[in-house]
């Protein structure tokens, strides 16, 4: 089986469109989105028809919970005043430009999705299985903590997003934790592409895979970022957000980064 897993879209409907076409072209049988449809980018309501038309199975991120339930902020839990200032701008923009019907749809999304693929129990969540807005960074998450999540939530593979940077860790008993990355903004690495994840099981696993039961491929997505930047400017979104789209370096929401991930960026 081959599954495509998308992380936070952050209103980046152009990247979502490219990722959907790329995943279909590669033969993905089912598409999933792990939540946070809104934030950061322009025109929130352009995301939903893409998700619906391509039968993307969606779960709820913290942003979706906030927008769907008319909350006052995105629940990212930032502690830095500058981060909160910019987070509030994108939250208010997204809330005002999300239709009531889309808000209702976001409100009713499930917080997790479980499936079995070729004998592997897969758990799809947003931040972590235990808390939607928990950041699981590669450099601040011990392997035995992930093992304890896999035990507690009875999963062979846990897929999550939320932190914005893809990574994976092999766990005890052949289990795996995978952060699928995000489609909404680049990964703070100076490249303009965004990322999604393909998971192959059973007969779809390549012969050269070192794990015959599960193969994870992180897929870079090139898309028309210049068009997205132009749309963001036309919507008067902050130039700091546009800069991230055009340069691949994060300019906001930096204080939650651990030292190792922060060092990789420019700011």
């Amino acid at each position: 089986m081959q599954l495509a897993l998308f992380g936070g879209v952050y209103n980046n409907w152009l990247a979502l469109e490219s990722a959907i076409h790329d995943a279909r072209r590669r033969g993905a049988e089912q598409l999933f989105c792990l939540g946070d449809m809104g934030a950061f980018g322009p025109h929130p309501d352009r995301v939903f028809p893409l998700l619906h038309d391509h039968n993307v199975i969606c779960i709820q991120g913290n942003y979706d919970d906030s927008i769907g339930n008319d909350l006052s902020d995105c629940q990212c839990g930032y502690t830095d005043p500058r981060d909160n200032y910019f987070a509030q701008i994108s939250y208010e923009y997204t809330y005002e430009h999300t239709s009531p019907a889309s808000r209702a749809w976001l409100r009713d999304l499930p917080k997790e999705h479980r499936l079995e693929a070729d004998g592997l129990k897969m758990l799809l969540c947003h931040g972590s299985p235990r808390q939607t807005n928990e950041f699981l960074w590669e450099s601040t998450t011990s392997t035995h903590f992930l093992d304890s999540l896999a035990d507690e939530y009875d999963a062979d593979v846990i897929f999550a997003t939320h932190s914005g940077i893809h990574w994976q860790r092999r766990l005890d008993h052949g289990r795996r934790f995978v952060n699928v990355g995000v489609l909404g903004r680049p990964e703070n690495d100076g490249r303009t592409c965004v990322w999604y994840t393909l998971a192959r099981t059973g007969s779809d696993v390549s012969t050269d895979s070192d794990d015959p039961r599960l193969e994870i491929e992180f897929v870079p997505v090139e898309y028309d970022f210049a068009r997205l930047a132009a749309e963001m400017r036309a919507e008067s979104l902050p130039e700091e957000f546009v800069e991230t789209i055009c340069t691949g370096w994060w300019t906001t929401c930096l204080e939650v980064l651990p030292a190792r991930e922060r060092r990789r960026g420019r700011f």
């Binding site: 629940q75 502690t79 011990s142 304890s148 939650v256 030292a259 190792r260």
Partner: protein, 318 residues
């Protein structure tokens, strides 16, 4: 009911089980440990080269009521922590870099998970940081330094932390930056809350002048216990968490819902309360997993401000 466990530490306080602290508003609310996310180590006990007037555990060069942890003691707890699925490790004191084992302790810890060390920044040596740079580079995990400096000038810092400590700590920050670390500067708020933005802005400029061009800042509330109780005042009887206050409260904001601390005298509930005998929970992590009654004035500060001990990357706001 008060029950005691036998302890092997001669000077350890008895473990109190099932004791209910009461106030006018009823018994203290009890907080369940949801998961042991952070394991702390009181790695240098109460020994510090400084004697800050606001220290919440009265650390000083002479206070040896809690001693250094050895590498073997830390290794034992690290091994025990695997079974509990601990996510991150924190090291505090006193001044952790007074402990001669601190380098091997941090090196060993980085084999298990991410490590954060809380230091006053005044005793760091280049050769230590070279070794720790290599240890972090070998590891999957981050090594974070939190450096305590109480304000952006010697005028705000030195009256609290001691003469010339601002200049010495800033040299420590420069050294950390030169070795590729991105220290988190933590400051205890000894100014009105509404001055935060101004203080932080000034601090960013000062840090940039010292080669720290990606400043990470964390403001901590004052805890009115230990030396700070003498400097200003302690908690009043009404500054306690009550059952009523817990209605609709996000308990994950409380350190005791996700942390414990290993000391030379056993395992305590949190890094703030080690001088409170009733905060000792057992000899081992297994013995320290029970619920914690919010009996103390410091619990009131933890309740009000939330997540005061963890790094911003591990914020737990629900």
């Amino acid at each position: 009911m008060v029950a005691t466990h036998d302890t092997s530490d001669l000077d350890a306080a008895p473990v109190l089980v099932g004791q209910e602290a009461t106030s006018d508003s009823g018994p203290a609310p009890r907080v369940v440990l949801r998961h042991l996310d952070e394991l702390w180590f009181q790695v240098s006990g109460t020994l510090c080269n400084l004697e800050c007037t606001h220290c919440f555990i009265s650390c000083s060069p002479r206070n040896n009521s809690f001693g250094y942890l050895t590498l073997a003691e830390v290794e034992r707890a690290l091994e025990e922590s695997v079974r509990h699925g601990v996510k991150e490790y924190y090291f505090t004191g006193g001044e952790p870099f007074l402990n001669r084992d601190i380098l091997p302790i941090l090196e060993k810890t980085l084999e298990y998970g991410p490590a954060t060390v809380l230091t006053n920044g005044t005793v760091l040596k280049p050769e230590w940081l070279e070794r720790l740079r290599a240890a972090e580079d070998r590891s999957l995990y981050s090594l974070e330094f939190r450096v305590s400096i109480d304000g952006p000038t010697s005028e705000t810092n030195d009256p609290i932390r001691g003469p010339r400590t601002f200049a010495r700590a800033m040299k420590g920050v420069e050294l950390l930056c030169r070795h590729g670390f991105l220290p988190i500067i933590t400051m205890t708020r000894t100014w009105p809350d509404e001055h935060d933005a101004e203080v932080l802005g000034q601090f960013r400029k000062v840090l940039a002048q010292h080669g720290c061009n990606r400043p990470r800042l964390k403001v901590l509330p004052r805890l009115k216990i230990g030396a700070e109780q003498q400097r200003t005042c302690g908690y009043t009887d009404t500054e306690r968490v009550t059952q009523q206050m817990m209605a609709d409260y996000d308990e994950s904001q409380l350190v005791c819902s996700h942390s414990r601390i290993v000391t030379s005298k056993g395992v305590y509930v949190c890094p703030i309360l080690i001088e409170e005998p009733d905060a000792r929970m057992g000899n081992t992590l297994d013995e320290a997993l029970g619920p914690n009654p919010l009996r103390h004035g410091a619990c009131f500060t933890c309740y009000l401000y939330g997540s005061i001990c963890t790094n911003p990357s591990s914020s737990k706001r629900e």
